[in-house]
């Protein structure tokens, strides 16, 4: 089980926060709102699919809605291994950042 890349961490956190309604559009919006990063939808799905292949996410076909022109959503849910991998990643960052002054206010 490999380590998470930065983009993978970000996407995984967004999925976790969004809960049941995690698919491309809200994931994209969450990332953009919090980081100011504008990713392409395709790049987000690429990451989501990679996380799914690694077993950190599961995907299911959701309901088609009219605003999507009747196309089904592809919704993702975090798995327990996913949750653990994310925890491990965040812990690593916290430990490494501990005591460093990089000009950030304490969160």
């Amino acid at each position: 089980m490999g380590n998470l890349g930065e983009l993978e961490q970000i996407v995984l956190m967004a999925v976790l926060r969004l809960g049941a309604d995690a698919y491309g559009v809200p994931v994209h919006a969450d990332i953009e709102r919090r980081t100011g990063r504008e990713l392409s939808i395709a790049a987000i799905y690429k990451t989501l699919e990679r996380l799914r292949e690694k077993g950190f996410l599961t995907a299911r076909v959701g309901d088609p809605t009219p605003v999507r022109g009747g196309r089904a959503k592809r919704q993702y849910t975090i798995t327990s291994t996913g949750r653990q991998a994310l925890k491990a990643s965040i812990r690593t960052i916290r430990r490494m950042a501990h005591g460093l002054d990089v000009g950030l206010e304490p969160s």
């Binding site: 491309g24 395709a42 809605t65 999507r68 022109g69 196309r71 959503k73 592809r74």
Partner: protein, 878 residues
């Protein structure tokens, strides 16, 4: 919400459905559709659409359908290629300046070549749109080498006696005014013998062709309309066929309507055709009334040579039978295709060469940019080769990168082609044949794009091939310490400069030619003169008296316009494009054969013509108002060269001359005027004869009005139009403009070639400048370490700048010299378009050199400054 209804575009969605993995397609496309309204609100419709399209492309690239592609992570052939494409796009983003130059270069080259080819193809390359166009010939009468139109009687003889001709027809010009609904409109047409369309091998789309029995004096009230005229004036009403319309005051039957694509190359502006209906009793149907153009098609199996031979024999026969009507008679057979492209072919040929040069420059530039990029990536390639990438893999990557560049260049090319095609078409005179068939030729676009790319990327691929043989260490080291000047690149840029200089020189010579032509004294003073072409028609003007009375009303009305100081009418204008000439016979120098008489431009004018146009009188007097009265003693003014030609002196006042037929009246010469340039400023002055309108033996229902004004002539134009329009309800006013416009218009073809060459020269100079800039910038970037070292060792900024400039000067000087040599050597190519200037004109070449120098300096400034700013500490620390 309407945006959701009109969006997404079906093509893109279909593309995604076809190419994307099923499980991802709905997810991605659905998300995009869901996001679209927000994007549109935030960024506007256009940018939202661009976003949508690019997102779809990304989706396809990330999740391609083919299982072979999906399972392989970069190893599958197509997947790998898609990766390469993506990498190509990334590279473009990483080096935007380079990508921009490359795209623009490709775009300009492809666009210009496409536009020119789109024009050249229908005009000179594609066969005429008639049945077996290669079997269609124009038949000209010749008189000792000079070719001329033919008379009706001659046409009849060829028709009746020739055995080699399958079909033959004649056409004469005809400019009727249409009455009926709407305002009277003058249209251009042709008066044709009944077999005209059959000879060309075309037939009406609606109704019928002319019938043989209609080609007779009593039954000739039949016309055929063009599709355009039928649609615009008659609303495309198919019930019009068989009905009558009012043509020049006469009711004529509409027999048929030609197809929309029919293009009359004899008169590209023709909108209406009338059956000729001559017979030999008509005074203008004689042998020497040469105003008809003859078209013929030989019988199957008869070669042009055989037909030509038969016609020669026939002309000898005719001359023996009618010695008074022919001088040194003969017939000349010219392929119709060749005939209609005669005037435009040299220009298009030269321009095609220019386009080719531009394409070469574009290819060289793209190649240079690719080469520089590849050289800088020597290290990358060597590294990847060492890690096991085959030469094929590296080549594929370069090709993919090229493809990304090509798509961008192609898009710019389409835009450039569209814009330049539109502006060139706007500049072309509408008398050119086949203009209507010109359209943006996509095949040409594809070919131009392919050629440019093939050339450019062949150069770009060189280093990939080279990289295969690199050893990792030496290459990585040399990429860092690169100090070797890239000779290939310098050679490319130098040749670019040479090509640009050759084009610049051509443009310079053409500019000088136009100036020289416009500085030729025309023989009259065009400043402060306004002019208009006026025509009246209808049964009321059947006899000359009515027309003359109307002309007098026109003169009075124009004279009353404020700001007008002097007015006159004339049957034609110098440089106006009318070539009406008569044979002149002198009473004291009789000729056995009147056909040998010198021919002079016939000007029937009102009394004040000389004063209004400021044509100088060399001897005798100008006309007085007493001369221009019905029943006045017949007098004439001749131009100096006509007097010289007949009597070898200009003291000819009192001598008597006759115009045309021996039965015409004699006119006493009262004055000798200076010669005018009638046919063109670049054609030698021709001879003129002037007769007062009231004493000439026929009256034109179309006249040119000229007025001299006390200020800017364009200011009187509106008042002039309303004044002359009020003289008769049927009057049609055309070509209302200052006389200087008429003079300028006579140089239209010259200015066209100048415009084209000028545009090419500007493009080429831009491309060469970009090439110099690119080469210097790359060299400074590659030599950063060296420059830093030198700077640390005490080189001054000035010295460093000089190091860069020296390289630039070297390329410019060698390229410039080669280009000028090229221009002088290829002078023959554009020699025919030059006037009063030699291909080696030193002033022009000096200006070209100065322009080139300035461009070189501009292109070198930034790289030189960059070299001066290299900080030794920074570089050495790297």
């Amino acid at each position: 919400m309407t945006s959701v209804m009109t969006f997404p575009p079906r093509v893109l969605v279909k593309l995604a459905t076809r190419l994307m993995r099923d499980d991802m397609c709905d997810a991605v496309v659905g998300d995009l559709v869901e996001r679209f309204p927000d994007r549109e609100r935030e960024h506007g419709a256009l940018r939202a659409k661009v976003w949508f399209a690019s997102e779809i492309v990304r989706g396809i690239l990330q999740f391609p359908r083919s299982p072979r592609l999906a399972t392989s992570r970069g190893d599958g052939l197509v997947q790998g290629f898609l990766d390469d494409l993506r990498r190509g796009a990334r590279l473009m983003r990483r080096a935007p300046m380079q990508a921009f130059l490359c795209t623009l270069t490709l775009g300009v080259g492809i666009g210009a070549a496409t536009a020119i080819f789109s024009i050249a193809d229908p005009m000179i390359l594609r066969p005429l749109p008639y049945a077996s166009p290669d079997k269609l010939f124009m038949v000209w009468e010749t008189d000792g080498g000079m070719r001329s139109n033919t008379g009706f009687a001659t046409f009849q003889d060829v028709l009746n006696r020739s055995t080699s001709v399958e079909r033959i027809a004649v056409a004469g010009s005809w400019q009727p005014t249409l009455f009926g609904e709407g305002s009277p409109t003058q249209v251009t047409g042709l008066r044709v013998s009944w077999s005209y369309f059959r000879t060309l091998g075309v037939s009406p789309a609606l109704g019928r062709d002319f019938a043989p029995e209609e080609d007779a004096q009593a039954r000739n009230g039949v016309v055929v309309l063009s599709d355009a005229l039928w649609r615009t004036r008659f609303g495309g009403d198919s019930a019009l066929v068989g009905k009558t319309i009012d043509v020049a005051g006469r009711q004529m039957i509409v027999a048929g309507v030609m197809p929309a694509g029919y293009d009359d190359v004899l008169e590209p502006r023709a909108r209406i055709w009338r059956v000729l209906g001559y017979d030999q009793t008509l005074s203008f149907a004689c042998r020497s009334c040469r105003h008809l153009r003859m078209v013929a098609r030989p019988k199957p199996g008869v070669t042009p040579a055989a037909m030509s031979q038969e016609l020669s024999a026939l002309s000898a026969q005719l001359q023996a039978e009618h010695p008074q009507d022919y001088a040194r008679a003969g017939f000349q057979l010219v392929g119709m295709q060749e005939e209609v492209t005669r005037s435009i072919r040299p220009v298009i040929n030269a321009v095609m060469v220019a386009v080719l040069l531009l394409l070469v420059i574009a290819a060289v530039n793209v190649g240079g940019i690719q080469l520089a990029r590849a050289l800088r990536r020597d290290g990358e390639f060597a590294m990847r080769a060492a890690l096991g990438a085959g030469a094929g893999r590296l080549t594929r990557q370069l090709v993919a990168e090229g493809l990304v560049q090509a798509i961008a260049g192609g898009v710019v090319g389409v835009i450039v082609a569209k814009l330049s095609l539109a502006s060139i078409l706007h500049a072309l005179p509408d008398t050119l044949p086949r203009l209507a068939a010109v359209h943006l030729d996509l095949r040409a676009l594809a070919v131009a794009a392919a050629l440019t790319l093939a050339g450019g990327f062949a150069l770009g691929l060189l280093p990939a091939w080279h990289a295969r043989t690199l050893s990792l260490m030496s290459s990585v080291r040399s990429a860092r310490v690169a100090a070797r000047p890239h000779r290939l690149r310098s050679v490319l840029v130098t040749s670019e400069v040479a090509l640009a200089v050759a084009l610049l020189a051509a443009a310079g010579l053409l500019t000088k030619s136009v100036r020289e032509v416009l500085s030729v004294p025309p023989g009259f003073a065009e400043s402060d003169v306004a002019t208009a072409q006026l025509q009246v028609s209808g049964p009321r003007f059947a006899n000359g008296t009515e027309i003359l009375a109307w002309q007098d009303r026109v003169l009075d009305a124009a004279r009353a316009v404020p700001g007008v100081t002097s007015v006159a009418v004339a049957s034609q204008l110098p440089l106006g494009g009318n070539f009406d000439a008569f044979g002149i016979q002198a009473e004291d120098k009789p000729l056995d054969n009147p056909q040998l008489a010198p021919s002079a431009d016939r000007y029937t004018v009102s009394a004040d013509f000389f004063r209004t146009m400021r044509v100088p009188l060399i001897d005798g007097r100008a006309f007085e108002s007493g001369d221009n009265r019905t029943g006045a003693a017949p007098v004439a003014v001749v131009s100096a060269s006509l007097a010289q030609r007949i009597w070898h002196t200009t003291h000819v006042v009192g001598k008597r001359i006759q115009l045309g037929e021996p039965t015409r009246p004699w006119y006493s010469i009262v004055g000798v005027a200076g010669d005018m340039h009638h046919r063109g400023l670049d054609v030698a002055e021709t001879m003129q004869v002037y007769i007062p309108t009231h004493t000439f033996f026929f009256t034109d229902n179309q006249v040119d009005l000229v007025v001299r004004t006390s200020g800017d002539p364009s200011r009187v134009l509106p008042a002039l139009r309303s004044a002359v329009s009020a003289t008769d309800p049927t009057v049609v006013v055309t070509r209302l403009s200052p006389m200087s416009e008429v003079v300028r218009a006579s140089t239209a073809q010259r200015r066209l070639s100048l415009t084209l060459f000028g545009a090419f020269a500007v493009f080429a100079l831009f491309l060469a400048g970009a090439g110099i800039f690119g080469a210097l910038a790359a060299s400074v970037a590659e030599r950063r370490r060296e420059i830093g070292l030198r700077s640390a060792l005490g080189a001054t900024p000035r010295g460093l700048a000089w190091m860069v400039l020296r390289q630039s000067i070297l390329m410019t000087a060698i390229g410039g010299a080669a280009g000028i040599a090229c221009a002088v050597a290829s002078g023959r190519l554009i020699g025919g378009m030059l006037y009063n200037v030699r291909p080696g004109d030193p002033v022009t070449l000096a200006i070209v050199a100065a322009v080139l120098g300035a461009a070189m300096v501009i292109a070198s400034v930034l790289p030189a400054v960059r070299a001066m700013r290299v900080h030794p500490a920074e570089v050495l620390a790297e």
